[in-house]
């Protein structure tokens, strides 16, 4: 149930995610060196355009990549038709994107915009 377009979208988002995952893991290890502290983390991310772009891109790539992956699993496991698969794919994409972007907003912009 994968066409070239969906295949390419999934591979390209994987390419985007690979360095972002490494960056995220590196920052996690760095951030917990002096203990886990919300104020310290927010101090780094609040108002930072760089972190907003970093995690914004991460969320967009994850939402696309995961929605296509779940589409394949749902098709091969439950044999769903295309008329069900397409809305399901979009639903998962929108759900992951909205949850992720809300989190990105919370850690980068909410304190700045009030």
């Amino acid at each position: 149930m994968l066409t070239t377009r969906l295949y390419m979208l999934q591979r390209l988002t994987a390419l985007i995610m690979a360095p972002l995952v490494l960056g995220h893991l590196a920052v996690m290890i760095y951030a917990v060196q002096g203990g886990l502290d919300a104020a310290e983390i927010l101090g780094r991310t609040q108002g930072s355009v760089l972190w907003m772009l970093f995690y914004g891109a991460f969320v967009a790539a994850v939402a696309t990549h995961a929605a296509i992956g779940v589409r394949v699993v749902a098709f091969e496991t439950f044999g769903l038709s295309k008329s069900v698969l397409t809305p399901l794919t979009w639903l998962i994409f929108i759900l992951l994107l909205s949850l992720g972007l809300r989190a990105v907003y919370a850690v980068t912009l909410s304190g700045v915009l009030g």
């Binding site: 149930m1 066409t3 969906l6």
Partner: protein, 238 residues
């Protein structure tokens, strides 16, 4: 090895396995076992074979749950606790007993544009093809397929996706996209890019594991993924 083999054979009429006792021989293939049952125990048993020497690809069946060419599979190699379970090939409709309907398998060869499209006529000179060019080496890796459908039966992607063209048809397409004499490159790339195309392969490698001719359809499919990616970006053929 004991004197008799305990053999379970799938029967479509009862939708169940039927037990047979078959005399054991020192040298004996699975096809010998099936033929003995048909000749001596139950003449109504249906199965398919032709050449008996691993060339025609007619006699593949599931043996102890794994797809095999039965004419070249020795009983000694696959016997488990002196017993054998023989069933029709997976992923294909059953005509009767051990004989499957191969039509969906061959339809997909056609769908994947498995037919060579020549660009010359009999009046043109024969084009010399050097065997060590990159294209010819790639085409040759995939060319010895005998259409036995063992890879098709081994493939979980085929089980999960009825539209999926399958390893054999895509392996054939890989041979042809690398054949410089063929004139249908674009059509073939298009044919392997749809909802049943090469991108639906999960690279599990069951096809390569079970291919009786040691081909690697999984590698051919990976090659098609690279070609279709190049095509998608508009980067040209090679």
């Amino acid at each position: 090895m004991s004197q008799e083999l305990s053999v379970s054979v799938w029967r479509s009429e009862t939708n169940a396995f039927q037990e047979f006792a078959v005399p054991a021989q020192d040298n004996q293939t699975i096809l010998d076992v099936v033929s003995w049952i048909q000749a001596n125990s139950d003449p109504t048993l249906s199965y398919r074979f032709a050449c008996r020497v691993g060339m025609c690809g007619s006699c593949a069946m599931m043996v102890n749950g794994e797809p095999r060419w039965t004419c070249r599979t020795h009983v000694k190699k696959v016997l488990k606790s002196n017993s054998l379970q023989i069933a029709p090939l997976r992923n294909l409709p059953v005509v009767k007993d051990l004989a499957t309907d191969m039509e969906p398998f061959f339809d997909k060869w056609v769908e994947a544009k498995g037919v060579f499209q020549g660009t010359k006529t009999r009046h043109d000179a024969i084009e010399p093809i050097l065997p060590d060019t990159a294209e010819r080496v790639a085409a040759s890796t995939a060319i010895e397929c005998i259409n036995c459908a063992v890879c098709y039966a081994a493939c979980d992607s085929v089980s999960g996706n009825a539209d999926y063209l399958g390893p054999a048809a895509l392996n054939r397409a890989w041979s042809l996209v690398n054949d410089v004499r063929d004139g249908a490159y674009e059509e073939r790339i298009e044919a392997v890019s749809g909802t049943g195309g090469c991108h639906n392969c999960h690279s599990q490698g069951g096809c390569a594991k079970y291919c009786p001719n040691d081909l690697n359809p999984s590698a051919s499919i990976a090659g098609l993924k690279r070609k279709t990616t190049r095509n998608w970006f508009g980067w040209g053929r090679s």
